[in-house]
C-alpha cells in the first residue's frame, strides 16, 4: 500500500508542474491588457509603461514564469492587482467558503443520490425506479443557475423564508453553525447539490442493477442469506465506483460554481474567479486557478488511495 501511495504521489508531480505552466500561460495568451484593472483606458503611454514596469509585466515571459513559480513554491502568489491584497489569503478565504458550501451540498446530494440510486437499482423497471430516475435526470438536466433563481423567487422574494444572497448576517468572517448563518447556506447548497445528486443516483442505480444480476448474488441468496445481508454485499461491490464518482463530484464542487456563487453572491472561489476574470486581475486569476487545480489533484489522489484501500485489486492494477 505504501509503495502504491508513493507511486501515485510521484505521478502527481508532473501533473502539478503542467498545471502551473498552463495557469501561467492561460492568462498571458488571452487578448487585452493585463493592467486593465488599474489602468484607465485614457491612461498615457508613459503611465502605462511605468505601471507595466512596476508590476513586472515588461519582463520576458519565461522570467515572469520563473519568478512566479519560485514565489508560488514559497507560498507567495503575489498581490491582487485590483485590491493589493495577497492573492493567497484572498483565495484561501474564498476556498473556505466554497468548502462550506460543497460540504453542505455533498451531504444533501450524496445522501439523496445514494438513496435514490439504491432504491431505483433494487426496484429496477418498476414505477419506483421510474420516479427516482426522473428525479436524477431532472437533477443533471436542469440549468442550476436557473434553479437557483427560481428558488430565490419562491423562498426569498415570495415567501420571505430564506435570504436571497450573501454568506451570513455579518459575512463569512463571522460564520457560525447556527440557524442565523445556516439559513444563508440552504438555497445555494440545495442548488449545488442537484447535479451530484443526479449523477450519483444514475451511477448507483446502474451499479446496483448490474451487481444484483450477477451470479454471486444468486449464490448468496441460495446460501440462505437474508436480503439485507445480500444488499450489504451489493453495497460493498458498488462502493469503489460510487466513491470515485462522488470524489470527482466533490472535486467539481470544491472548484466552486461561478454561476451558483454569482446568483447567490456566495463569496467562494467561483465568485472570486468571476471577479478576477471581469477585473482582469492576472495574479488573482492565476492564483485562484492554481489553488483550485491543486485541490482537484489532491482530491483525486485521496480518492485513488481510498479506492485502493477498499478494493485491493486496484493496488495490483
Amino acid at each position: 500500500m505504501f509503495a502504491y501511495i508513493a507511486r501515485r504521489i510521484v505521478y502527481v508531480i508532473p501533473i502539478v508542474a503542467s498545471v502551473a505552466l498552463v495557469c501561467f500561460l492561460l492568462v498571458h495568451i488571452t487578448p487585452g491588457d493585463p493592467l486593465v484593472a488599474v489602468l484607465p483606458a485614457d491612461a498615457s503611454q508613459e503611465l502605462a509603461a511605468q505601471l507595466r514596469t512596476a508590476y513586472g509585466f515588461d519582463r520576458p515571459l519565461p522570467v515572469q514564469f520563473g519568478l512566479w513559480l519560485w514565489r508560488a513554491l514559497h507560498g507567495d502568489l503575489g498581490n491582487s492587482i485590483a485590491t493589493g491584497r495577497p492573492v493567497l489569503s484572498e483565495v484561501l478565504r474564498a476556498v473556505g467558503n466554497t468548502v462550506t458550501l460543497a460540504i453542505a451540498a455533498a451531504l444533501i446530494g450524496f445522501t439523496l443520490g445514494l438513496l435514490f440510486g439504491l432504491i431505483a437499482g433494487y426496484f429496477r423497471d418498476t414505477w419506483i425506479d421510474k420516479v427516482a430516475t426522473s428525479i436524477a435526470i431532472a437533477g443533471v438536466s436542469v440549468p442550476h443557475y436557473w434553479l437557483g433563481m427560481v428558488m430565490v423567487i419562491i423562498f426569498s422574494v415570495q415567501l420571505n423564508w430564506l435570504p436571497a444572497v450573501g454568506a451570513g448576517p455579518g459575512g463569512s468572517g463571522a460564520w457560525g453553525w447556527d440557524w442565523e448563518h445556516m439559513k444563508y447556506l440552504i438555497l445555494p447548497a440545495i442548488t449545488t447539490s442537484v447535479i451530484p445528486m443526479g449523477i450519483v443516483t444514475r451511477t448507483v442505480r446502474a451499479l446496483t442493477g448490474d451487481i444484483l444480476s450477477q451470479d454471486f448474488v444468486e449464490a448468496l441468496r441460495a446460501k440462505g442469506l437474508r436480503e439485507l445481508d445480500v444488499f450489504k454485499h451489493v453495497i460493498k461491490n458498488a462502493a469503489p465506483t460510487a466513491l470515485a464518482v462522488m470524489g470527482l463530484q466533490l472535486g467539481y464542487m470544491l472548484g466552486g460554481s461561478i454561476l451558483i456563487e454569482t446568483v447567490f453572491s456566495w463569496p467562494g472561489s467561483g465568485l472570486l474567479l468571476n471577479s478576477a476574470i471581469f477585473q482582469r486581475d492576472l495574479p488573482l486569476l492565476q492564483g485562484t486557478i492554481l489553488v483550485l487545480a491543486l485541490f482537484f489533484v489532491a482530491l483525486n489522489l485521496l480518492v485513488d488511495i481510498a479506492q485502493a484501500a477498499i478494493d485491493p485489486r486496484i493496488k495490483r492494477g
Binding site: P31, G32, D33, L35, V36, A37, V38, L39, P40, A41, D42, A43, S44, Q45, L47, A48, Q50, L51, A54, Y55, N79, I81, A82, T83, G84, R85, E90, R93, A94, M149, V152, I153, S156, V157, N160, P163, A164, V165, G166, A167, G170, G171, S172, G173, A174, T262, V263, F264, S265, P267, L271, L272, N274, S275, F278, Q279, R280
Partner: protein
C-alpha cells in the same frame, strides 16, 4: 415608614428592570442603511478607489474628501464643482502653471490628526513622487490619469498649498475632485509598525493595513470590513460640514454583481437599496411599492467614428445622416423600458458646457436619407460600416440589443451595419490602441461608453488631435484644427465662467461636426425600499448618502 421604604425599593427595582430591558431596545434603535452595489468586490478603501466611479461613489466620497467636490444636492440642476477641503483657490497671474489653494481650517481626519498643507503634499506625492515613502503604484493608475497635468505640490504655510501643473490648465480644480485625502499620520503609524525587508515592502504593508483601518476626513468612518463581502461605515459625528453629517447611524455596503440577485435581495427585504436593478424587474419593483430613482447621468453611449484615411465617416453628410436616422425615443420606450435619456450631444440642454449647436440631433429619417443620397448612397447602393462593441461591460447598458436596434434603424438610411462583438476588457484595451491598430479589426467605429464629468474626460481626450493613440482616447484620430484651438482656449481660460463658455463653444463645435453618433445617456437607475427617505438623485455618477434617513 417601612411602607415608604418598600415603595422606594420597589420603584428602584422597577427602574433598574426598565433600564435593563430598555437599554438593548435603545441600542436596537440604531438606523442602518443596507446597499447592494453592482461591484463584485468592495472598492479599494485606502483613499483612491478602484472599480471606476462606483468606487468613488462608495468608498471615495463616503470616507474621504478632495480639495474640491461635487454639489450633489439638486435633482434638477447639473452637478457643479464646489469647494471641499479647500475653501478658495486661484491661479498665479504671472505663471499660469501655479495654483494656490487655501485650506479649510479645523478639519481633522478620523484618527484625530489635523488636515493641513503637509497632508495635501503627502497625498499628491503618494501618486506622483516615485521616491516618496508613501508612493503606491497601485493607486497611480486611477489617479494620475484623472489629473494628467498635475506635477507637484508645495506647502506655503500650514493652511496654504501650491500646486503646479505641467502646462497651463484651467481644468485642475475639477480634476482634483478625484484626489482623496488620506491621513498621513495613520499611514505613518502603520509604516513604523510594519515589518519588511526594505522601505518599499514596509510601505506596501502600511497601505495594506491602512486599507483595513482607513482614515479620511469624510462624513463616514470605516467600522467593519470583510473583503469581498461587506463594508460597514458609521456616521462621522464630527464631520466638518455640519449640514452633511449622516442621518443614519450605519451604512452597510454589499457587493452583488448579478442584477437578479440584487433585485431579489431588495424584494426580500435583505437590503434597502440596490444599484442598477434588473431592467425586466422594474415593473414588479414599482408594483410592490418600492421606489425607482433615475436621473440623467453625465454619461454618453456613442459610436466613436474613425476618421483615418478611407473611413466612410469622413463625409460629414454620412455622420449627420446616422445621427438623424436613429429613433432614440423608440429605443428608450421600447428596449430600455424608459431607462435612458436620448443623447443630442455629450451634454444636454441646461448644462453649462452645452453651448448652442446649430446641428439639431433628432429623428428625421427623410433628412437622413436625403443626406445619404447626396453622399452617393441609396437603396441599391448601401454603405457598409463596421462597429466594434462588447456583449457586456461597465456603463455599456445593453450593448448588443442596442447595437442591433441601431443596425435596423440605420438600414433604413442605406447603411449596412456589421457588428464586431468582442469581450469588454479587450474592447477597452483596443480603445486605447486606436482605429489604425490591427486589433480594431477593420472597424470604422467603436462603441465604448464614457463618463462626462469633467472637460478632459468628456471632450478633450476625444477631440484634441494630440490625444490620438497611444496618448489617449482619440480612437478615430480626429484632427480638426478648430477643436484644437478651442481646447487650448478652454484650458487657458482661468475665469470659471469664461472657461465654461469656452467649453460650451467646444461642445457645440463637436455636435455641429457630428463628431460621434450620439445615442443615449444612462440614468443610473437604483431601486430602494419605501423606508428610505430624503434621497436626492442628482445628475451625476455620485450621490450624497448624508441626507438619507430610514423610516421605522
Amino acid at each position: 415608614m417601612r411602607n415608604d421604604k418598600s415603595k422606594k425599593t420597589a420603584t428602584a427595582w422597577l427602574l433598574a428592570t426598565a433600564l435593563v430591558v430598555g437599554l438593548p431596545q435603545l441600542a436596537g434603535a440604531e438606523t442602518v442603511l443596507r446597499i447592494g452595489m453592482t461591484a463584485a468586490d468592495i472598492p479599494r478603501t485606502l483613499g483612491q478607489p478602484d472599480q471606476g466611479f462606483e468606487g468613488n461613489r462608495f468608498t471615495g466620497l463616503t470616507m474621504y474628501d478632495g480639495l474640491t467636490a461635487w454639489d450633489l444636492s439638486s435633482a434638477t440642476k447639473p452637478s457643479v464643482m464646489i469647494p471641499g477641503l479647500a475653501t478658495e483657490w486661484k491661479v498665479d497671474e504671472a505663471d499660469k502653471k501655479k495654483w494656490t489653494f487655501k485650506l479649510r481650517p479645523g478639519v481633522t481626519f478620523h484618527d484625530g490628526s489635523p488636515f493641513n498643507a503637509d497632508a495635501v503634499v503627502w497625498n499628491v506625492e503618494k501618486v506622483l513622487k516615485q521616491d516618496a515613502p508613501q508612493f503606491d503604484a497601485s493607486q497611480v493608475g486611477v489617479t494620475a490619469s484623472r489629473m494628467p497635468t498635475l506635477a507637484s505640490a508645495r506647502k506655503i504655510d500650514d493652511m496654504t498649498v501650491e500646486l503646479t501643473t505641467k502646462e497651463p490648465d484651467s481644468f485642475l480644480p475639477i480634476n482634483l475632485t478625484n484626489l482623496f485625502m488620506a491621513s498621513p499620520s495613520k499611514w505613518q503609524a502603520f509604516y513604523d509598525k510594519a515589518e519588511g525587508a526594505d522601505a518599499k515592502a514596509k510601505s506596501q504593508a502600511a497601505w495594506a493595513a491602512f486599507a483595513k483601518e482607513a482614515s479620511g476626513t469624510g462624513p463616514w468612518k470605516m467600522s467593519k470590513f470583510t473583503p469581498r463581502e461587506r463594508l460597514e461605515l458609521v456616521k462621522n459625528e464630527g464631520y466638518w460640514d455640519k449640514g452633511r453629517v449622516p442621518k443614519v447611524d450605519k451604512m452597510v455596503l454589499l457587493p452583488m454583481p448579478e442584477a437578479n440577485a440584487r433585485t431579489a435581495a431588495l424584494l426580500s427585504g435583505q437590503v434597502d437599496w440596490v444599484e442598477a436593478p434588473a431592467p425586466d424587474a422594474v415593473k414588479e419593483i414599482k408594483q410592490r411599492g418600492f421606489q425607482l430613482q433615475a436621473n440623467e447621468s453625465p454619461h454618453v453611449w456613442p459610436w466613436q467614428f474613425s476618421r483615418i484615411e478611407g473611413s466612410p465617416w469622413n463625409d460629414i453628410r454620412v455622420r449627420k445622416a446616422a445621427n438623424l436616422c436613429v429613433d432614440r425615443e423608440g429605443l428608450k420606450e421600447g428596449l430600455l423600458a424608459g431607462l435612458m435619456v436620448p443623447a443630442t450631444g455629450t451634454f444636454e440642454a441646461g448644462h453649462p458646457w452645452r453651448g448652442k449647436p446649430t446641428f439639431e440631433i433628432k429623428y428625421d429619417k427623410a433628412a437622413a436619407q436625403k443626406l445619404m443620397q447626396e453622399a452617393g448612397f441609396g437603396p441599391s447602393k448601401k454603405l457598409t460600416v463596421k462597429t466594434q462593441t462588447s456583449a457586456s461591460g461597465s456603463g455599456q447598458m445593453q450593448p448588443l440589443p442596442m447595437n442591433e436596434y441601431l443596425q435596423q434603424a440605420l438600414a433604413e438610411c442605406y447603411f449596412d451595419v456589421q457588428l464586431d462583438v468582442i469581450e469588454w476588457n479587450t474592447l477597452f484595451t483596443n480603445w486605447r490602441r486606436g482605429a489604425k491598430d490591427p486589433t480594431a479589426n477593420g472597424a470604422n467605429a467603436t462603441n465604448v461608453t464614457y463618463a462626462a464629468m469633467d472637460p478632459f474626460f468628456a471632450l478633450v481626450r476625444f477631440l484634441q488631435s494630440s490625444m490620438a493613440p497611444p496618448t489617449s482616447n482619440n480612437w478615430g484620430y480626429i484632427n480638426n484644427p478648430k477643436f484644437d484651438e478651442l481646447v487650448t482656449k478652454a484650458r487657458q481660460t482661468f475665469d470659471p465662467a469664461a472657461r465654461d463658455a469656452a467649453l460650451a463653444e467646444l461642445h457645440a463645435a463637436s455636435v455641429d461636426d457630428a463628431a460621434f453618433l450620439y445615442v443615449a445617456h444612462d440614468v443610473s437607475p437604483r431601486a430602494m425600499s419605501p423606508k428610505v427617505k430624503g434621497f436626492v438623485q442628482p445628475k451625476s455618477w455620485f450621490v450624497d448618502f448624508s441626507p438619507v434617513s430610514m423610516a421605522p
